[in-house]
Symmetry: C2
Subunit: 182 residues, 2 copies
């Protein structure tokens, strides 16, 4: 089963793709979508939507997962987060994926061991768990963490692996996805 | 100049299309996108995105406008509004449109005469201004109102009409856009 985790944000949207099979989680790809700062709000949101659509087309995940949002600090930041989160969810659903939601505390607990872990701890643990050579940037590490957690949550919940055939050789990709779309 | 106004919302997203030429605003189309209630959040957002993309392709507006959001009542409702607003903005920008923003008070003042107008007053005035046979539903009326206001704001600001050729016969369309996409 291939899982894409997404950490939506208006300036940086992290994504991480992992495979889960035979009790093991294997890294496939991760990166960050950074809409051009000088573009309009609408153009930046279109950049996130189009970028995720291309990433999903490239890596063909079976399912998607994002962090659940509880209470944001204030209405203004909730609106800004909501705008980025909305386009991320829409892009994933438009590609035919179901989108799960996991609480941040749950994700940190699964990956680091306790729900109050700092961002740096998540980065370090994600690097170790996935046997990466370098620490992923924070937004991508959060996205990988939620994907790893979903992999294990799926196993615990006895979820079936959907019957998509896996490629025998799989491209590995680390980096930032910065192509300008709009 | 053809203008699309959009009033984004998670359960109902209103849209209204008007033409502005020679100091007159003429109705072209309006309607409401209602994502299926039983669908997941992500699927409902994808429905709004895809629906607006089709509406823009159908009516080929020159520019778009949405209501500016000031402070929402609380972070939870700001997040929900933000998600719908984000996909609406992304869909409009992905179609190559610039997206203007107008304050609700400004819109009500232009259409009804005072900034604190009730929804029913906006519906009535939009019907009269556009010479419609029936009152548009509230979400569509708000979308038409913001488009009307943008038409006059553009004239006052001396904006150029972009050089897209107008069709001589123009389809008029009133109704709800409810086709299921996802």
């Amino acid at each position: 089963m291939r899982i894409i985790g997404v950490d939506p944000g208006s300036t940086a949207t992290g994504y991480g793709v992992v495979d889960y099979a035979d009790g093991r989680v294997v890294h496939v790809a991760h990166g960050i979508l950074r809409p051009p700062r000088t573009a309009s709000l609408a153009a930046r949101l279109a950049h996130i939507h189009g970028g995720l659509a291309e990433i999903v087309a490239l890596h063909a995940p079976d399912t998607a997962v994002v962090e659940k949002v509880f209470v944001a600090s204030n209405p203004r930041s909730a609106l800004v987060l909501g705008q980025a989160r909305g386009v991320a969810l829409a892009a994933l659903a438009a590609a035919g994926l179901t989108v799960g939601e996991l609480a941040a505390r749950e994700v940190k607990k699964a990956v680091v061991g306790h729900g109050g872990a700092a961002k740096a701890q998540v980065q370090t643990m994600v690097m170790r768990l996935l046997d990466l050579r370098t620490e992923p940037a924070s937004d991508a590490a959060d996205a990988l963490a939620v994907a790893i957690c979903q992999a294990h949550a799926g196993r615990l919940a006895g979820l079936d692996v959907r019957g998509r055939r896996r490629r025998s050789v799989r491209a590995r990709h680390e980096g930032e996805w910065t192509r300008m779309r709009t």
